[in-house]
């Protein structure tokens, strides 16, 4: 992409203002989540336990068409028997105003450890899903999600 560094012409200013106006205009408050906030939110769930990579599959679109409504599917590799099952699944983000997305509680009766929902992404970021197993271990998966910039958002 070539960028000009001369002074802007009138047309460029107008087009610049067009582009500016088309960018999402909602303001994120000063309490935005950070990777640190995400880690602390995770600590609140897992305590001092170790979180291992694996057994969790995070199915999300790599390129997000609109950050307002993003599909999220989490499945966990588990036999889902009375003695070996997924107790809960928690999803976290690092750049939304808050680090938590959702926390769901399952049990052996679920039969299949797979859930889906739709969530919001304020920006390109890493999403982490953590599953708590009936034996007290924690497993996780992360995915980088790219939120593309929509061209024609509605300016209210």
């Amino acid at each position: 992409m070539k960028q000009r560094n001369q002074g802007s012409t009138r047309r460029e200013i107008l087009i610049g203002s067009l582009a500016g106006g088309l960018v999402a205009t909602f303001r994120i408050s000063d309490v935005a989540a950070t990777p640190e906030a995400m880690r602390s939110a995770i600590r609140q769930i897992v305590g001092t336990a170790q979180v291992r990579k694996g057994r969790v599959d995070l199915d999300v679109p790599p390129l997000v068409e609109n950050g307002n409504t993003v599909s999220l599917v989490v499945s966990v590799d588990s036999p889902m028997t009375k003695t070996d099952y997924v107790k809960s699944i928690h999803v976290f983000n690092e750049k939304n105003p808050q680090p938590n997305v959702i926390g769901v509680h399952l049990g052996p009766r679920a039969g299949k450890a797979k859930i889906a929902t739709r969530f919001r992404l304020a920006d390109t970021q890493v999403i982490t899903a953590i599953a708590e197993m009936s034996d007290g271990t924690f497993w996780s998966a992360s995915a980088e999600m790219i939120v593309t910039m929509a061209a024609c958002v509605e300016v209210l």
């Binding site: 992409m1 593309t148 910039m149």
Partner: protein, 259 residues
């Protein structure tokens, strides 16, 4: 941000500098915006329980049999089962109104029914009720081809085409410069669609709600730095009509999902 502006400039300048006369998209090259949706957005539209617009359709179904106005009549009392009586209706709207000697869109048709037959107040544009009824009626045409063949509408279609190809707003852009001349290219990270109104009212992820074609057109005009036509203005309906004529033969998807 700087890169984004540069990209926008490139795209918009290319459009502005493009050939003056826009040509119609060849009939066999036309395609619904659905074709360019991501996997997840397609899935959202395809499954009724997943499609958030279903909530509006369900609302519309309830309103269909609800008495309204001083006549105390429900839509269903005259029109019966919408699955039969409304099948194909949305596929041919806007339609010619002999009383108005011109086109009226589906929303206006619903409001005419309310004021003339139900003796009720017209529903506001973009109100939950009007969107719900429009979505419910539109849903009955899903899968049917769009038809625009009423000879009485020829001059209104021409008027709509003029509006579509006319440069408007502070940056002097026309609808045609994006949707006829540059469809399939990128505007920022979004693909420029051909702009066929196959799924209205749509659930737009950007809006997080159901919205009408007129809302979408106003949305475009604001982006073009032009003053949008008022809801229900003759220009808005002529544009809707031209777009439906331009999309003739494509399949009704109502209620659609778009980014």
């Amino acid at each position: 941000m700087k890169r984004f502006h540069a990209l926008m400039c490139a795209v918009v300048l290319a459009a502005v500098a493009g050939p003056a006369g826009s040509a119609d998209i060849p009939l066999d090259q036309r395609r619904s915006g659905y074709a360019d949706l991501g996997r997840d957005t397609k899935a959202m539209q395809d499954d009724d329980t997943s499609n958030p617009a279903s909530l509006g359709v369900q609302d519309g179904e309830a309103l269909w049999s609800q008495k309204a106005g001083t006549a105390g009549k429900a839509c269903a009392e005259c029109h019966g089962d919408a699955a039969a009586s409304m099948k194909g209706v949305a596929a041919r709207y806007p339609a010619f109104s002999p009383a108005r000697k011109g086109p009226i869109d589906l929303e206006q048709r619903i409001n005419l029914c309310r004021t003339e037959n139900q003796k009720a107040e017209p529903l506001a544009f973009e109100s939950r009720e009007l969107l719900a009824l429009t979505a419910y009626i539109g849903r009955q045409s899903r899968g049917m081809p769009i038809v625009q063949s009423d000879a009485r509408l020829t001059s209104a279609i021409d008027a709509g085409r003029k509006l579509f190809t006319q440069r408007i707003g502070q940056i002097s852009l026309s609808c045609a410069q994006c949707h006829d001349d540059n469809w399939g290219k990128q505007l920022a990270s979004s693909l420029v669609p051909q702009g066929h109104p196959t799924g209205y009212p749509i659930y737009r992820l950007e809006w997080q709600s159901l919205g009408s074609l007129q809302r979408r057109l106003r949305n475009c005009m604001i982006g073009m730095r032009a003053e949008p036509y008022a809801y229900g203005a003759p220009e808005s309906v002529e544009l809707e009509l031209y777009l439906m004529w331009r999309a003739r033969g494509l399949t009704v998807e109502t209620p659609g999902v778009r980014p």
